[in-house]
């Protein structure tokens, strides 16, 4: 009998119960409905992981009612624990926002491939909660002074861990743009376009955010001939490449799993 070997990208995945350390709310919005929080969990003790990878999470309150785990980027992983940065937008993230310290959540990860780390000027384009993986990215980058973060957001800035990013990695260049109304969008995209152009020849562009934003980045990168990676946020069933519910078409016309072959793809290799 041949020995059973999982594909490389699956070798290190563990499914664990992790203790909730705390839930830290970030700037409550006036409506009180949409809100963001950091879910801090005990250190999973993984031997390897990469920024841009993610985890699937379940709280016991999901019961049998919520079938799938929920996918969240690794936002910070240090010896004191694993932080996820979460925007409550539905049934699962709301139940996670109500977690109590001491609760056990089920976590499987680290999942997916993660962002490229290259010794180049690197532009990080974050839209909304898309900022989450860039904290981990910047904190673990060998040459953080080569990093530039551009952050577009709709909710107030204090809703997001933007200040945390500045404090954690003071070497990097940061700027933020508050999109207060739909009219602001073209202004923001122009800012992004210029930044991509600036990174076109010798730089690397990374983007994480809503799909329309990623689509815009893809076009701009193509226009300027920039090397760009996009982190996709498709809805996930299993998180491990099995259900084929999260696929995206690559330029060869094949449907590939975002969870196991991504979530990070070279912009020019996928259709969006």
């Amino acid at each position: 009998m041949k020995s059973v070997k999982a594909p490389v990208y699956l070798r290190n995945i563990q499914c664990q119960e992790l203790t909730v350390l705390d839930v830290v709310p970030f700037g409550q919005t006036s409506t009180g409905v949409t809100h963001c929080f950091a879910l801090r969990l005990e250190d999973p003790g993984w031997s390897h992981w990469r920024p841009g990878q993610f985890v699937m999470v379940r709280h016991p309150s999901f019961g049998l009612e919520l079938i799938w785990g929920r996918a969240f980027s690794i936002s910070r992983l240090v010896s004191s624990g694993l932080s996820l940065f979460i925007q409550a937008q539905g049934r699962g993230s709301e139940r996670l926002s109500a977690a109590n310290p001491g609760d056990k959540v089920t976590v499987w990860g680290p999942l997916g491939n993660g962002f490229a780390i290259q010794d180049k000027r690197t532009l990080m384009l974050a839209g909304g909660v898309g900022i989450a993986p860039f904290l981990a990215y910047a904190e673990n980058h060998p040459t953080p002074h080569k990093l530039e973060l551009i952050f577009g957001h709709r909710l107030p800035l204090e809703t997001y861990p933007f200040d945390n990013a500045k404090t954690l990695v003071p070497e990097m260049t940061v700027s933020s743009f508050h999109e207060r109304s739909p009219e602001d969008l073209p202004v923001f995209l122009e800012m992004v376009d210029e930044a991509i152009m600036n990174h076109a020849t010798s730089g690397l562009v990374l983007a994480c955010g809503p799909t329309p934003f990623l689509r815009a980045v893809k076009q701009m990168a193509a226009k300027h001939g920039a090397m760009a990676q996009l982190s996709l946020e498709n809805k996930m069933g299993c998180g491990v490449g099995a259900c084929l519910g999260c696929v995206i078409k690559d330029t060869k016309g094949e449907n590939v799993q975002v969870c196991s072959k991504g979530p990070v793809f070279w912009s020019h290799k996928i259709e969006l």
Binding site: K2, K5, R11, I67, G237, C243, L244
Partner: protein, 311 residues
Amino acid sequence: MASKTPTISDPRVSLPGLDLKNPIMTASGTFGYGLEYASFGKLEDLGAIVVKGLSLKPRAGNTMPRIAETPCGMLNAIGLQNIGVERFLEEKLPALPHDTTPVIANLYACDAAEFGELAAALAADERMGALEVNVSCPNVAAGGQAFGQDPKQAAAVTRAVKDAAGDKPVMVKLSPNVADITTVAKAVADAGADMLTCINTLLGMAVDLKTRRPRLANVVGGLSGPAIKPVALRCVWQVCQAVDIPVIGVGGISNATDVLEFILAGAHAVQIGTANFMRPDTVFSIVNELPILMNGYGVMTLDDLRGTLET
């Protein structure tokens, strides 16, 4: 727990042409080609591994979105995306522990002749444990569950596969989207099926008020998960009364208690599907818990429990 006994319960089960360590199989389409789950447990601990539905040629499947979550369940319309039989045999099968745990292929084709061809290709490989015929997929334009809703067509497909399968056991997977599942079950059993798998998904649908679009690009899809367990259990019970061949229960099973409930209703073995998504180590946990739970209920072997439901 009805009683405690010191001896250890024995979860083994004998099926036509297959001796299983335990009655726990994976359900097709929910466990990839097996390897996706290799880091969450030992694949060789499973009763059997049923892999994603295979067709003669690779298929790209349906357009996105393909899945939607529903209360205690999910809808899928993957559309049988798969790498085709050839690549499966070359790339995936060698890495699976087929020597110690039967690997079962799930077959999809557009007509009886193509089913035969596919069965022949798979049966020719001595590493294959058995063939499961999917005449009940609600998510494909051609064939699919139409086969499984018509006793005559289901029987024709069964015969075509049996003729091509040589000595490989053949199980036929039935659709619950019928008025009377026993009619199809009997037709398929008479046509020579060695076992029946009950059930495939229920036809369902979900919509998004914000976009006014269906949540699946395919509009309708297959409902699975704990929500459908009562329907699956009823189908298994009805089919077990109607035919003499072993029945493999599937639908909404998420723990060892569910497994024993299906055995109580008459099933020989079970498959774990959507519960694999709830946590990736589900099927391995169930394998571990089953003998302990049997012990707790004073059930020494599955034969002692099977079909003992007092009605």
